[in-house]
Amino acid sequence: MGIYLSKPNIVLVVFDTLRWDFFQRFLSGDYVFSETLKDFVSCETAFAPTSWTLPSHFSLFTGLYPSEHGIHESPDSEMDDIYRRSVKWKGNFLTQTASELGYQTIGISANPMISGLTGFDKRFDIFYNVDMGVLFNFNRGYRQGSIRHETTKKSHRDFSFFKSLSPFYALMKREKSHIVSVLRGYPKNKGHTMAFSFLQKTPISRPFFVFFNLMEMHDPYSQIFFQDNNFLILRDLFAIHTLSRRRLKSYQMAYFRNIEQIKIFITNLIDYLKRKGLYGNSLIIFTSDHGQAFKEHNYYGHGVYLWDELIHIPLLIKFPDNYVLDRNDLNYVNLVDLYHLMKAVMEDNTELARFLNHDQTFAESFGMQYSKSSLRKYVRSTSKAYDIFKEANIPRKSIIKNGIKLTINGRSEVEEYSSLTKAKIHDLDFHAVNDLLFELEIFSGNTGFNIDKSIIADGFFGSNE
């Protein structure tokens, strides 16, 4: 065993856009995969603090909700401003703590939003961008040039000697993965093998904290070569060109089938850690940053809303060998709690249950996260689109407590009042609802999000089972 085993290693894998229910369904149908995960404790009540990547990751790395770290959308903010704020953000970031505690920090991201664009590269000792090429990024709504690939001085890039000699060869190789994946269809590798290879080639000499963001579950799910995914989402959202049921079904199928890629990654990673003798003394976390809506509530995509399909996420944790925790120790875990868990493990704190066992948790969103300038053309196109925009572009807060989820929007309307077990809530328990509203009101703080408690009497709850 090497010197780096003195402290637990930490492996944090975010499967971007993976929702809890689909993953559960996949697991229940795959006994072998379930066996692979037998050392992991699964939390069935894990939630993301919001429903899109950047604020969710900031919560994961700072232990703060979006309203607390401030990296989030607002009804009138431009995406570029949010990116700039995230680059400049100064505060306690997990990787900084990790470095101070002697950890080597390695970031591997296939998501252009978790990159130099948002300052993530500078926050790790080594940072790899899984660059899938121009066509792939165009397909995801990212223009070439919007993603900064510059990384820290210590970082590694996927440049081979031949690529650097021949720009044409480099271009062809970069686009090959996209072209091949389009031709093959789903399940589609969206960079996880490249991400894994980065870990394999990184020399490790001390306790390490490695973070992956993998995009296998992220849209687009379309096989159309040059289709801008945001274009498709926004045209559907604003009822300009609604997605057909058939197409939606095919996207759902593609999404579900791609969990197979996650299985491959997890199996490879666990094998690798075992082979290297690192498995036992590692804290390994598999989770997600948000879910994906397939129009369960007439919305396709993620962000904006806080429906269960958007914030209920899987969470699997394997604790280092000397930590004894079981399923009962994990209750209402939010990504903000994982920051405290990882920090505690880095600090050799063995009392971890208090970071993972809560009686309630929250989520919040602040409007539409899409670029306001790009929204304009859709919003102005029809009066219906304008109405939809006004309805969507407001803040929202959710609380999950005692098996009930309550979401209130900025107009003090109840958007969701549901049971986590999907059982119907037959009788309105005024005491329970009052308690949820009380908690939400305190959570809202002085962010200007006001809750009109008369909504209890207005009958909203009865119609939102």
Binding site: Y65, S67, E68, F438, E441, I442, F443, G445, N446, T447, G448, N450
Partner: protein, 266 residues
């Protein structure tokens, strides 16, 4: 040495307090007001109420530490004012300790593991302690521990308190906004320069709700068993007599307060 601002006018002190409160309200997401029903925290509550109204914000929730030995009038005052001024009250209470009062004692082994750890953390190593806010361990478990627990649970990042420089020399080094750890938050102390007479002038001028015990002659109010009145005159009339407002409190209690401050209470 005790720090006092004797020559600054009350109006200037009010302006300072409002500026501090406004700064805090615009800097922190989830503030709360520590309110005991006593005169100092009532002034802070009123000042915050006015500033929030000016800023178009709602009044932050009030954090009330229920140590189990309050006057019934305190509970009634909290209930009445919270309805009239419309704010949420978050009660910090160590039920475990209060449920294990055995006669007039509390046995450590009866307490939860968490409370036992907390007691050990401040160096307590005996088997039991008397149920009295005048002892370090009891005061710590009934005030500091539940208060910190509530700050963590509700993620309060700023706590308004009614600390004043002239209360005792320990407080004279306090600043308007100071950072605390475990749990991480800041203390907002907007009325530091106010003297006791300033407090009463402010309360009377603004017709603020007054705890009935002040009318009976108590100068400061804490637990039923450790607050003693020294005169039959209302507190505000005694102020002119020149006695210290904490004169009726025992030396033990002052020492306990000093320890509690070290461990994170106000």
């Amino acid at each position: 040495m005790e720090k006092k601002e004797s020559l600054l006018s009350l109006m200037a002190k009010e302006k300072i307090a409002r500026a501090v409160i406004e700064d805090a309200l615009t800097s922190y997401v989830r503030p709360a007001i520590l309110w005991s029903g006593g005169k100092n925290s009532t002034v802070v509550l009123h000042l915050v109420k006015e500033v929030t109204a000016k800023l178009g914000l709602k009044l932050p929730p009030v954090l009330f530490v229920d140590h189990g030995d309050h006057f019934p009038e305190t509970m009634q005052l909290i209930s009445e004012v919270s309805k009239k001024w419309v704010f949420n009250v978050v009660v910090a209470k160590n039920e475990d300790v209060l449920n294990h009062i055995n006669g007039d004692k509390i046995y450590i082994n009866d307490l939860s593991e968490e409370n036992q750890k907390e007691a050990r953390r401040i160096g307590f190593s005996e088997d039991s302690f008397p149920y009295s806010l005048e002892t370090n361990v009891c005061s710590y478990l009934l005030k500091t521990v539940p208060m910190n627990s509530v700050i963590s649970r509700y993620r309060f990042d700023a706590l308004f308190t009614g600390v004043r420089w002239d209360e005792n020399p320990d407080r004279s080094t306090e600043v308007f906004i100071s950072s605390r750890e475990n749990p991480h938050h800041v203390r907002i102390q907007p009325i530091l320069p106010m003297l006791e007479k300033d407090i009463w002038e402010y309360i009377l001028a603004n017709k603020l709700p007054v705890h009935p015990k002040y009318q009976e002659g108590y100068r400061s109010i804490n637990g039923m068993h450790d607050s003693k009145k020294v005169s039959n005159l209302p507190a505000w009339e005694q102020v002119l007599g020149g006695t210290s407002e904490r004169a009726e409190r025992s030396q033990d209690e002052e020492e306990v307060k000093e320890r509690l401050r070290e461990w994170g209470y106000i």
